[in-house]
Symmetry: C2
Subunit: 256 residues, 2 copies
DNA sequence: CTGTACCTTTCCATTCGTTGGAAAACTTGA
DNA sequence: TCAAGTTTTCCAACGAATGGAAAGGTACAG
């Protein structure tokens, strides 16, 4: 891959899309000046860029003048992998929860984080805060490590360069994590023992798409005293079932 | 509202976002040249714009080089109205289906179309093709007419200027439709008798948000021989329930 | 393994849109 | 009535977008 002479950020479009970072779960409706403050952009510039995003219908302006994510963005999101993945996976995830009693997570990699696209709480549950849409570190969680292990080299390099400690058990040594990831790739299985949350372990496996590509990761969360090894077989079975279900769903798009 | 000296389309960002139009339900993964052809954009320009959209993570490039809607777009879409609306409305829609046996639709306005965000088939069902994500005309469907009746003036004007005939019963006279819309606004109820599909009638009501704003519309579809009037009460009850549910859900975002 | 067709990537002189400080216009609340 | 905050407009300097063209890949047929 050739070196790019222009870095991201040189483009007008990229800078305009940066304003979307101002929006999150607790900031769904923002005023012009809030967006400007939250992104550190001059007011006049923010004003023009928001107008462009409204013109492109990614954002919409309410009658009171405030800005929110537009319905078109939702519609585009419906075309993305997480939507079909979630739909195809749901019945199999429910199966998995029934069989193990533990909480199940599904995530995809988005940039340098794992994006949780669905979560079903098990009966032997403890509260978890990772609702669909939340982001998890790639290096300290089960699904994160699976996604990182199968990510392109440049992503791995970037991720390994910024290992932050989440708990006292988090692996922050790049060399050690790289060895862990090699193992994850070989075993097609990752585990995290209290590396992201004390008292919680997780086991995760990849969901393969066509070829050797990894579309997503499925993980089980269990409190520290559960033998993770006992969860491996149901987890792998679920992953295969989801692979097939997604494939069947996507088949339907192209026939007829 | 002041006249804008610069039309949408003069901005670089707007033009780049135009490439997203190349993606739809049956075109979820596209190559550079497909996007160029589908949007009529020169290749070199398309190449640069796609790179900008990938940098902004609205799109992602797969290992085989093809482009698809990115996980970040899905995530942004999760912050949009349709997502919370759908979640809050689901139990009440199920109620409505049980009570009436007919198929129920929920839609929001997106530009000059009604965007279907959810659909539940009734027991006395006939096949319908309007899956979540599909778009319906504003002037020939029940939910479309509700959304149009409560839309801002400039939207109404634009919509009335392009009335196309869908069936022989579609109203294509702007003056007549304007009167129909006045009535819809007064009665808070719209009906479409075979105006969008022969043999099918629909009844729709608005879902009110805070103040007098209309967030969405809920509609029931029934084959021609069903008395639509009998559906009005359950439909209105459902709309109120959904209003309250959405309000309760959104309340939770801001507390704590 | 040569040619043909198609796709992706890069180059660069010209053109055109962006930038953001500043001022004006508007909104709120005291 | 004034003060503080917000949104909108203006415009000269600056910088990025544009797209034809050519180069670099890839796939397949003969």
């Amino acid at each position: 891959m050739a070196v790019r002479r222009t870095a991201p950020g040189d483009s007008v479009t990229f800078r305009a899309l940066g304003l979307l970072n101002a929006f999150d779960e607790t900031h769904r409706v923002l005023s012009l000046s809030q967006v400007a403050r939250r992104t550190g952009t001059p007011l006049a510039t923010t004003h023009r860029r928001l107008r462009d995003l409204v013109d492109g219908r990614l954002l919409q302006q309410r009658t009171d003048g405030l800005y929110e994510i537009g319905a078109r963005t939702w519609h585009l999101g419906q075309l993305a992998r997480p939507t079909s993945m979630r739909e195809a996976a749901l019945p199999h995830l429910q199966d998995l929860v029934l069989r193990t009693g533990q909480t199940v997570h599904v995530g995809v990699r988005d940039g340098l984080t794992a994006l949780v696209i669905d979560r079903l709480a098990g009966s032997r549950t403890f509260t978890t805060r990772h609702l669909p849409g939340s982001r998890l570190p790639l290096h300290s969680t089960g699904i994160g490590k699976v996604l990182l292990a199968f990510a392109p080299d440049d992503v791995q390099r970037q991720a390994l360069a910024r290992l932050t400690s989440v708990t006292e058990f988090t692996v922050t040594d790049p060399a050690r994590l790289r060895r862990d990831l090699d193992q994850v790739r070989r075993r097609r299985l990752a585990e995290s023992l209290q590396q992201n949350r004390l008292g919680v372990g997780s086991l995760a496996v990849p969901v393969f798409g066509q070829g050797e590509t990894v579309m997503a990761a499925i993980g089980l969360l269990a409190s520290g005293d559960v033998r993770l090894a006992s969860l491996e077989d149901p987890l792998r079975a679920c992953s295969h079932a989801v692979s097939r279900a997604v494939e069947a769903l996507e088949q339907r798009w192209y026939e007829q």
